[in-house]
Symmetry: C2
Subunit: 333 residues, 2 copies
Amino acid sequence: MAKRQVTLDEVAERAGVSRSAASRAINNAPNVSRVKREAVQRAVEALGYVPNATARALATQQVGSVVLAISGEDPALLADPFFAEVVVGISSVLEETDLELVLSLATSERGQARLAQRLRTRQADGVMLMSLRENDPLAALAHQADVPVVFGGRPLGFEPSYYVDADNRCGGRAATEHLVATGRTRIATITGRLDEGAGTARYQGFQDALAVAGLDASRIVQGDFAEDGGAQAMGELLARWPDLDGVFVASDQMAIGALRVLREAGRSVPDDVAVVGFNDISAARHTVPPLTTVHQPIQALGREMARMLLAVLAGEQPSPLILPTRLVVRASS
Amino acid sequence: MAKRQVTLDEVAERAGVSRSAASRAINNAPNVSRVKREAVQRAVEALGYVPNATARALATQQVGSVVLAISGEDPALLADPFFAEVVVGISSVLEETDLELVLSLATSERGQARLAQRLRTRQADGVMLMSLRENDPLAALAHQADVPVVFGGRPLGFEPSYYVDADNRCGGRAATEHLVATGRTRIATITGRLDEGAGTARYQGFQDALAVAGLDASRIVQGDFAEDGGAQAMGELLARWPDLDGVFVASDQMAIGALRVLREAGRSVPDDVAVVGFNDISAARHTVPPLTTVHQPIQALGREMARMLLAVLAGEQPSPLILPTRLVVRASS
DNA sequence: GACTGGACTGGGAGCGCTTTCAGTCTCAGT
DNA sequence: ACTGAGACTGAAAGCGCTCCCAGTCCAGTC
């Protein structure tokens, strides 16, 4: 440990050039003769030189890292496979760059404050913000942020310049239309959080489809995207509308909970009740019965967020991106 | 955007003190009179000053971030709820400090190289390394690392100074003993990856228990911790030892896959075959039937890793920590 | 009143890198 | 031989902060 770091000066000295020349050579900037460039190259290898990112950051005023902030009071939110996949997508793009990914769960007051500070003071080159609630404190931060912000999922209440979202409304509609098309007439929904963009959009899709079909759209219970919430909501649904024959559940996690409750209630799926989920997480293939669900490209969502941020950092002004969703029919409907 | 940052000099000037005094006041170091301390305090607030972390890092030679590196060629590894929970645990501890969490999935060559570089050149104050394989390239890095390294899970092949692990062997043993105790005699196991510490330890526990019971321990198929792998392994198990009446599966994910295959094969769980998993992920409560499994404190694992790293950074030399596991009996056994 | 120790102060030297800019060199063009 | 364009060079000025250290100041002592 703690062997002194090799500095640019040492490289320059060894290569017999000035520090500036060495710097240019290393960043392969123009205006360095081939001879010197190669001399520097050799010196770098001989010495095992690696530039000090901190010093570089100070000099260039660029930090070299972007933060992914996930909002929500419950830190376990990350445990949702959805986020994990998004992170994987983001990470895969960032890996090709020299940016590092700082994860900020920003759960506690203190954590939020730190995040706020980072946003305001350029302790990161950019930020990706996910799953904002309506009136989320993070949203305010985003506005006064001193760095580019890309939203994952269109937030409620304002239209940010940069965001990537899945076509939730369309997906919700497709799911519901599918229920209609298969002959269900007493269709209910377990929504996601309605203070989140994805939750409301999927719910709107549900309404759209039922309106077109001329069916009653009043069978609704609000959920929270999580499994237990889904189970609870299903119980409520069953209690209030015992005759329902189809249900659109706004997340697979909730759908898994709902399936369990249906089974416990002795309702056969899909014979008595058809169930359609949303997200197409890997577990959806393996539920009993396998879950019909709306696929959204989750890793791609992460990738596109990262790419969009990169684009903004590069000075471009990319347009918001809506990723397509598509229905995957399995045995639960 | 891009409003110039307020610097310490401005604060100092406004407070009518020297930059050094201001610095001391802000870091509440000694040797600052109460008067000046307060003047600085006021100036900070008036100006909205926030110290520049990069500059501070350069001056103090401390980066202010720690990296969590998860090894494994498959980036989707993170999608394992296990890791997600670990991250949550780590994050909760770090949130109380001024360290940020850099996530490094280090999947590609390039990513690995970058990580290696960071480890060697103090681009982070410390590292947490998870799920190393035997002969993992990351292990080599860890040795030549210039910063403290804490391992999550004891790696195979060497004994690091600092690690946090769950008592996998004991857990595997408890799980298997439970199968024995409930009268199973033809007990099989689906192991995890045997090139990982956790995989082998659980397998050893399995062997321990069967040895004591004097039962045959040859019914084994190697899995990979993931759901599909578990399903496949279960198929193999069934094919080779159709008479098995109990199986210890080294992860809940795999157990879920195994349950599915057993169901498809028409074996009733637990009547025909008892199944015990490992990890106690939240999904384990909701499988059909609910899964008997070995609980390990996953978030705590993350928390303790972070705490241990913090301790090392503080100059202490904490001892390795083995977290207890405990059997949770549900309906699958 | 000279002296001492302790509390405080601020100048200044870095931390390692980038980048500007005044020059120097080369060489084709005249 | 002279000129100017263009390629290259390196000294020096930062980036914003920390921290050492030589001082100053002010009781408190004798």
